[in-house]
Symmetry: D3
Subunit: 314 residues, 6 copies
Amino acid sequence: MKYLAEYLEGERVVGFCLVKSKEAGVASNQSEYLNLELGDRSGSIMAKLWDVSPEIKDAIAVKGIVKIDATVQSYRGKKQLVIQRIRPASTSDEVEMESLIPISPVPVDELWEKLQKTVDGLQSKILQAIIREALADEEIHGRLRQFPAGVRMHHNYYHGLLEHIVSLLTAAERLLPLYPQVDRDVLYATCIMHDIGKLYELSDPIAPDYTTPGQLIGHLVMGVEIVSGICRKLDIPLGDAEVLHLKHCILSHHGEVENGWGSAVSGKTPTAVLFHYLDQIDSKMNALGQTLADAGEEEWAYAGVLRRKVWRGY
Amino acid sequence: MKYLAEYLEGERVVGFCLVKSKEAGVASNQSEYLNLELGDRSGSIMAKLWDVSPEIKDAIAVKGIVKIDATVQSYRGKKQLVIQRIRPASTSDEVEMESLIPISPVPVDELWEKLQKTVDGLQSKILQAIIREALADEEIHGRLRQFPAGVRMHHNYYHGLLEHIVSLLTAAERLLPLYPQVDRDVLYATCIMHDIGKLYELSDPIAPDYTTPGQLIGHLVMGVEIVSGICRKLDIPLGDAEVLHLKHCILSHHGEVENGWGSAVSGKTPTAVLFHYLDQIDSKMNALGQTLADAGEEEWAYAGVLRRKVWRGY
Amino acid sequence: MKYLAEYLEGERVVGFCLVKSKEAGVASNQSEYLNLELGDRSGSIMAKLWDVSPEIKDAIAVKGIVKIDATVQSYRGKKQLVIQRIRPASTSDEVEMESLIPISPVPVDELWEKLQKTVDGLQSKILQAIIREALADEEIHGRLRQFPAGVRMHHNYYHGLLEHIVSLLTAAERLLPLYPQVDRDVLYATCIMHDIGKLYELSDPIAPDYTTPGQLIGHLVMGVEIVSGICRKLDIPLGDAEVLHLKHCILSHHGEVENGWGSAVSGKTPTAVLFHYLDQIDSKMNALGQTLADAGEEEWAYAGVLRRKVWRGY
Amino acid sequence: MKYLAEYLEGERVVGFCLVKSKEAGVASNQSEYLNLELGDRSGSIMAKLWDVSPEIKDAIAVKGIVKIDATVQSYRGKKQLVIQRIRPASTSDEVEMESLIPISPVPVDELWEKLQKTVDGLQSKILQAIIREALADEEIHGRLRQFPAGVRMHHNYYHGLLEHIVSLLTAAERLLPLYPQVDRDVLYATCIMHDIGKLYELSDPIAPDYTTPGQLIGHLVMGVEIVSGICRKLDIPLGDAEVLHLKHCILSHHGEVENGWGSAVSGKTPTAVLFHYLDQIDSKMNALGQTLADAGEEEWAYAGVLRRKVWRGY
Amino acid sequence: MKYLAEYLEGERVVGFCLVKSKEAGVASNQSEYLNLELGDRSGSIMAKLWDVSPEIKDAIAVKGIVKIDATVQSYRGKKQLVIQRIRPASTSDEVEMESLIPISPVPVDELWEKLQKTVDGLQSKILQAIIREALADEEIHGRLRQFPAGVRMHHNYYHGLLEHIVSLLTAAERLLPLYPQVDRDVLYATCIMHDIGKLYELSDPIAPDYTTPGQLIGHLVMGVEIVSGICRKLDIPLGDAEVLHLKHCILSHHGEVENGWGSAVSGKTPTAVLFHYLDQIDSKMNALGQTLADAGEEEWAYAGVLRRKVWRGY
Amino acid sequence: MKYLAEYLEGERVVGFCLVKSKEAGVASNQSEYLNLELGDRSGSIMAKLWDVSPEIKDAIAVKGIVKIDATVQSYRGKKQLVIQRIRPASTSDEVEMESLIPISPVPVDELWEKLQKTVDGLQSKILQAIIREALADEEIHGRLRQFPAGVRMHHNYYHGLLEHIVSLLTAAERLLPLYPQVDRDVLYATCIMHDIGKLYELSDPIAPDYTTPGQLIGHLVMGVEIVSGICRKLDIPLGDAEVLHLKHCILSHHGEVENGWGSAVSGKTPTAVLFHYLDQIDSKMNALGQTLADAGEEEWAYAGVLRRKVWRGY
């Protein structure tokens, strides 16, 4: 199967795509057209559909799947599609979602197994119980196997959050022997739970928007509330030192309050300070890796995550 | 009864005080002395106790009450006490704590009544239930009638937090008719609950320190957790719009995240934005009022809350 | 009468509008067209006039009134007009300016009366004299009954500044009993005079631009100069404490100098500090109220004044 | 005559000094002592007066002149005086103020002449008239020949402001040929008038404090008000372009508003932008020159104006 | 010869231009077109070439010279060219580069002579030797006679850097007598060498881009490395005080590190501090001069270098 | 052997210490005394020497070694020494420097071996040659085995820099497998060379001050100059991509320029970005580890590196 990013100018594309955005316009000849953003797991492309009928206009839905017959053209230096034919996909088309959105390169089951192994190895029975309870929650379980770690910046693809968690766990495991002043179990628990609030801050794994609670509360405090909810359910005292420490690490993982990056409190333990930097490393490395991969042979490429151009190296 | 602040240089002081801090030293003649900070409701004063015996040194405890016989002297332009005799107070002395620490000028029962009346007048049954449950909690009830609103900056005296809440409620009530875009009940609920976390962020109402949970979680998130805990107990859904709104107002009441003043999220409703400014007004007016009152006849006085001098204005 | 904002896609519009901006272009067929921004009191809309003759092109003037016959179309998701016929309005058309620009919902005479009543109630004869002199100035009088409080952010409509002043006076009156450390008369005088410089910082009430003196001096200092000019005229000593206090409140009403928001000096009295927050409240509440009203049924809407999205509440 | 800074440890000092500050204390033997800061034109030194009588304590006044008989000692690495005898100076002592406070190295008449010559050479009759009127004012005239340019930072000595003005005029004259986009007369007028408000922001030239109007209005706006007052007196229209330009340069001479350094408006002409940098250069060069001169042979010295150490540079 | 900026709407243009950028597109009739940015020494203009053949599309190269036959039209309020005929220039066309790009108004030889004279007048034999060696380097010599001082902000034209250097030398020479605390020779050497790294930070003088070393190292450190390289070659000790001072001035010339403007170290000598402000003055005056010259008769014009509008003065 | 930190109040101390600072004073009885800061590897303590003779005063030198006979007293809550007898140490005393200053807990030879092994394993022959040449330099070799990584903040003890380097190499080695977008050899080379300039920025390993070149150039650029000097010596082209990359990582290791933390350029490669965070982690973990170790049993301790209190964990 050939993906959108692989087609060259002039080629014909026949296949299924996801509709990411839709905008109607009126051409100078008074006929209507649609500007669509279509995507599959290789990325997104703009598409033009001229002389659109009212029926088709209504039938094409954002976050829906369509089948297209189109040609690749160049417009202002970028590839775009000009669509000849389009129709919504039906269930009989048996399109797999995983072919339509970008997805983590690591299989979800492999990630999940690594996560489970870490949880099994926790020495703190309290932290272990909290995390097991979280992962056993049907909704959390389901979302954690699907959600990205963010809308744009890093690990922004199917089960990207799980990949980010496992990557952090691996980094934490490797650095822990160097820094005995860090609390191993709290660090692991923070890797797993720091972004758990994102499962409710974002709407869905396909074309995620921010939810109303997500915008009003934010994923840091949402994560802390999930932890506290579980503690209440399991009769774990909220004043337990390890629980306090985990909640502190979640609340401070965006760095110092004074920087205005969104922490509710500044990190005040070696564990919280270390985690903030690990999270920065893992998210920035992922974002820069994507930026350079997308840039093909270019020596320099613009990296949104740093708001400047980055260098391939040589 | 005459308070510490009223004694003049050269006068003799005999009476009860609270020990706020204690520091031992060795004089050039090798004898030991104590530097004490003593206080009553009129404020604090430094005191010197020369040639202190080990027994007395041990018997005098920080946050404890002592009876002194001392003389007021001037040292580097400030009054200080030189103590001739000192002993810890015993229960038979029947000293009232309220004579020993600064206290709100408004009687606690009057404040509490006003608070209750506002709660009774809430139209939202959900917000009313949450606040009634909070105020019915024995610990919250007790602390709210005693705690200051802060260690240093504003309403930093016995039941100062309650005075701050009632003052905010009054201000809110008066401005609401001007701004119909504001949610009345959520605004009232925020006035009452925004600093409720301080009852656990601070150690006690006499000589408050920050607690460990207070430093790790902060009173904004602590307040949100109290609200959520009550919702769970009362089976109020956490996704209820009014509950979300109240929690949002608590989390955002320190202003915009980008300013780095400690909000976990920036205010995103008219109610949240209004409350932030009301809280600024009430705390700054209280602090500046104290600064100018303490400055006596001085035209200008240094106001710590603004980090600059303020003008009496006449 | 039906306003621009009320027309739906496909409807025909015949009526008078104000020309807010005009831009000429050349179409691919080499004929000229105009892009116009047309407005009435319900807001603005973009309009296209194809094949425009040189005569019409010249006759249509920015800030002028035109009569149009046009159709509503959708372009890139927004409504726009395609104009079939257009001509400048003549005096015989008897168009009322108030139907053409957004206007305060409160009648100007009602606002003026409230303002006068406050002035009459001032106990300070000096402040009363200054303000009476200002309001008696023909130019100030005329402009204050017409000017908006700003170009874009808040109260940006006909006699919006007067509405803002009266709203501030009401808020001040309601909060004053809570804060006796505030100087009542100076606070009222600041409400009235704080933005008086805007009457000269802006060019006109219809389509206001910044004037050259406005950009070079700014409305804070311009306001202070108006006060000082009146004092000289009335032989009020410039060193009078109330005059100094009023000028201080005007100069500091954008908040602390260190924040870089344009105050010439940081607020150094309770009155100045309170007024800054009242002004923030009144301008932000007005702006957020407009944002949410314009957003119709949308749960979230982008508020330029906060540079983020705001929530309707429920 | 030998100045305070020239005495070495162990030497006896007999002579006149200015009392800059006074603080009373009680020694361990219960006798009173005074800590004085004494100064002459060479600088300041701390002095101790043991066993002070109430009469002497009252007779010694801050900003007064005293005659002392004292010995230089070293205390914590710094020289201090131990006073054996002290009395207030009487008029019969005929002490010249200029021997008692630091003074500009350039004679005041030489500076004044240079200033007058520049004013005479102005081509703009309006700017010339404004400045002549200002310099003809008896109070401004008198103060300008005495006041420092600041309390601490730069040109902080007798007629330091006049020296700063003349130094700026010289620098401006020399750079003008390079930058024809700058308005010569406005630049000269700004050099002369930019800090004219300091003559009222500061209390006196001997031991200057900030005045109440100085703290409430600030010297930028005070300078603009002086200019406007003169214009009114001379019937010069306030809207005159050169007057606007001069006022703009005064209001913007602390740099960009966003930096929070106290400008009321950001510089918006080449002249205003150039003047800001010239003022920075002249004040910083003066301050660094003093820092290095005071540091004697030290390779590095702490410069308060930069908040870091500076290098002599040899 | 008539330059691009001089042509009016409707006129025909026949002549040579430099291709600054090129972008291909597909028109609604499916034919290809080119959007070109064409320039000569009077500035740049957008140009449209419809129905372009593949041969022409390939033959037109960015940074190449073309001969065009075109018409000036107005598009969205700006002039643009519609090209009828176009071909690449051949060597037989004998086009002079200096007619094609903006160029300093001062002849290069005049600038060079002034530079040489300053170098000859240096009293420091070490600084003189370093600069002579630099200017004798064939590559530096060649580039310094061609490179702009920057891509966009100031002196952004042919041999603009040399003009900037000579202008700084003149300003330095004129201010030096006022500030004896400044090291004359180090100041002159800094004027000459402060931006020498730009000769390698930028790719070429015609259409400069940032080079890879330029982006990775920056012109400040590149300049220091050039100085150190010459010292090693000439056996000048790297610890020489004048060399250290020169390098310090280069590294600190973007102002204080804390401001985040790119200095590697904050200025710590009077010379370094003075140079920073001189550089600011010379670059800002040049940029504002250009802004106002380009603005023709407009009273206000947007100045990118200040990110705000500037005023012509009157 | 017993170290200073181990003595209790009242105990007698006889032994050798390092003199860290010295300050003379005059007591109220007119006799001279010395305030000394004395230290050994366990830390520092203030000491008082009353009635000091001029001979002893001169004989005691900062950074010199003395033998003392003293008693531990408590002064303002801190231990201090009162010295009965003191003399400078002579060579016959055979005091080992390592007993007198704090020292890394890891033996220097073990660290050196690990460093050598990493260098031997570099695949890049160019980077390997540069580092081998650096380590073979007698001065660098000697200093690297002795110098701290800083004066105060982290690894501030004997061969602390070497410990920091080896710790970074270990962390880098462990994280590299996770981030293939990072250049292994450049990362290792940066770990080794990033602070190499500190060997010249600081004066000596015993009581390090900042050198004049250190303050003028800073250790980032000094490090880059060392690399470039070696390249010139070894005929490695300065434009080599790996050399550029190493220099970029050194220059950017203090984070983004905009933050004002001292980088000469912002990190623009995955390797540079990763290294910045690794350096933050290693320095902060070391500093927090020391803070908590020094705090003994205290739950909370003030950490200078974070400018706030940190929590032990539980």
